[in-house]
């Protein structure tokens, strides 16, 4: 019998606290010169994208471990991470166009960063579909997709540096004005805490579900 460790509530509480303070920090940051208010979306959009890529890596590594060792724990981590890629990816893909509508005048552009982010999101949506609809043995198949999904992340990240594109390139974060750095890194930390909390919560659900299946198997006997 496992003890419910206090780790999960701690992460969620810390994340909640950080999110509570974030609006004050964001409000104190200076407005960006050309974009004005709409640039505020940056403080949620970019950390969500970072968490999305991080989660894709977690899923890929867990999938690789599952392919090599077949451990159910790594399979559970891969599934939880894939779900979070889809959730945070959805946030990125909705906040991005809302920002773009004001900043560029269009909802969507088929440029390198947007296209490859959408592709990454779709890869992990297909991961979840495979888990749900492929029947027995789908964990192995999905793990293969997870590995390919992880291989896709560097393409997304470097795409804006390789091609001239309307999307801001990766120098933006490095060259942030000092007053903007605190709210930005605060939000990054908040999102990372939130991600870890959600991942652990989802893992707990997966554990319970496997316990249920074991109980069903026992009842069959």
């Amino acid at each position: 019998m496992q003890k419910q460790s206090p780790v999960v509530p701690v992460f969620l509480a810390v994340a909640a606290g950080m999110f509570a303070y974030a609006p004050f920090l964001i409000d104190a940051a200076p407005y960006e010169s050309t974009m004005g208010l709409i640039q505020r979306i940056f403080y949620y959009h970019v950390p969500s994208a970072m968490v999305m890529f991080g989660s894709a890596f977690v899923c890929g590594i867990a999938s690789a471990v599952y392919l090599a060792k077949r451990s159910p724990q790594s399979d559970a981590v891969a599934l939880a991470a894939a779900e979070l890629v889809v959730v945070f990816g959805l946030i990125v893909l909705v906040t991005g166009p809302l920002w773009a509508r004001k900043a560029w005048g269009v909802w969507w552009q088929w440029d390198a960063r947007l296209t490859s982010s959408l592709v990454l999101w779709l890869i992990f949506v297909s991961y979840l579909m495979l888990r749900r609809f492929a029947g027995a043995g789908s964990e192995m198949l999905a793990a293969a997709v997870g590995v390919f999904g992880m291989a896709n992340v560097p393409c997304v990240y470097w795409s804006v540096n390789v091609w001239r594109t309307i999307h801001p390139n990766t120098n933006v974060v490095r060259s942030l004005a000092p007053e903007m750095r605190l709210p930005f890194y605060w939000c990054v930390a908040a999102f990372v805490c939130l991600y870890v909390g959600l991942l652990l919560t989802r893992l707990r659900l997966e554990q319970s579900r496997r316990g249920l299946e074991a109980a069903y198997a026992e009842i069959e006997d």
Binding site: M1, K3, Q4, V8, P9, L12, A13, A16, F19, A20, A22, P23, F24, I26, D27, T34, G36, L37, I38, R40, I41, Y44, H45, S48, E83, V87, L90, I91, V94, T95, L98, W99, R101, K102, G105, L194, G197, L198, T201, R202, R204, L205, S208, R209, G211, L212, A214, A215, Y216, E218, I219
Partner: protein, 104 residues
Amino acid sequence: MNVSRFQIAACRWTTILAVLVAVVFVAAAAAQTQPPLAAIDGFVPMSSAVPREVLPATPLVFYAYSFVWLALIGYVFSIWRRMARVEQDLADVQRRLKDGQGGR
């Protein structure tokens, strides 16, 4: 695997707490984005020389932040719902196991 009722309740309360705290922040974030409204949509002239379509930014920012919160709360809620179903099924199965053992 035996999951005590205390642990199930603790998990449920954690998720309820997280959802409530998150709801408070939607309100806080919404309140925070209100004051700049007067500054942007007031009588401050456009500094850019190029005339372009003037879109009020505040609704877009509000929708963006709201969506983030809705998505996260929605996900937490979905985990909570699935957890409740699993716990219910688990309690069910354990009851049947016990009955089966008692009946033998």
